[in-house]
């Protein structure tokens, strides 16, 4: 039996809110590492180049594809929130959230298809 207070969990829009929060958290964790990697250029082009060659590994490319998904899904999820809060309510929010996830997955797959 599902407790009354948790019945909303599992609905498409609850999942959308959770995806938005978790993708934001993951991006926040990634950002310092991203900045540190770019900061390698302070010590010269060779140091950054050496790091970039390390990222040529397929496993790293898959991780980058995951990051592209997270960035896109957070962007689209955030745009949906801004539209809901600032414009008149529109029906079909579940469909919009699903489309946002689908577009993000497609963008990530296209990225992976190009780099792998």
């Amino acid at each position: 039996m599902i407790a009354r207070g948790t019945m909303h969990r599992g609905s498409a829009l609850w999942i959308a809110a959770m995806v938005h929060r978790l993708s934001g958290l993951a991006l926040a964790i990634f950002l310092p590492l991203h900045f540190l990697a770019l900061g390698l250029a302070i010590d010269g082009e060779a140091k950054l180049e050496s790091f970039l060659r390390w990222t040529d590994q397929p496993l790293v490319k898959f991780a980058e594809g995951g990051l592209i998904f997270l960035l896109t899904v957070h962007l689209l999820g955030g745009l949906r929130v801004l539209v809901i809060e600032n414009l008149d309510w529109r029906d079909g929010q579940k469909q919009l959230a699903t489309i946002a996830a689908a577009i993000s997955a497609i963008v990530a797959f296209i990225f992976l298809a190009r780099v792998l």
């Binding site: 934001g24 310092p32 950054l48 990225f111």
Partner: protein, 109 residues
């Protein structure tokens, strides 16, 4: 989340939306035939446009992420509002410092 933080969260989101779109486009462009340090730096070094773009991006992302982390800590951790706020502020400052260093590295070094 108080009103001031709510407004900053939404304002930085609105600022970042086009920046993220451009970032994704640049990622696709930069990786079209393998990404090299020489390619990246030849695009960014000495460019006021890229320095402004990435500078604004770092500022907005640092504020946006710090407020988001504060919300998560407040709602999902045992920390009270004050401690969550302090930790989030430290995180935001760390992001701003590392981000500024990264912009400096790719534009001015």
């Amino acid at each position: 989340m108080n009103v001031r933080l709510y407004v900053w969260q939404r304002a930085t989101a609105a600022v970042m939306a086009p920046l993220v779109l451009i970032h994704i486009a640049v990622i696709f462009y930069a990786t079209r035939k393998g990404m090299t340090a020489a390619d990246i730096l030849s695009r960014t070094q000495g460019s006021i446009v890229w320095a402004s773009y990435y500078g604004l991006f770092v500022a907005a992302a640092s504020i946006h992420a710090a407020i988001g982390v504060r919300n998560v800590l407040t709602e999902w951790s045992p920390l009270n509002n004050r401690h969550a706020g302090r930790l989030a502020l430290l995180f935001g400052l760390l992001l701003a410092a590392l981000g500024t260093r990264a912009v400096f590295a790719v534009v001015l070094s």
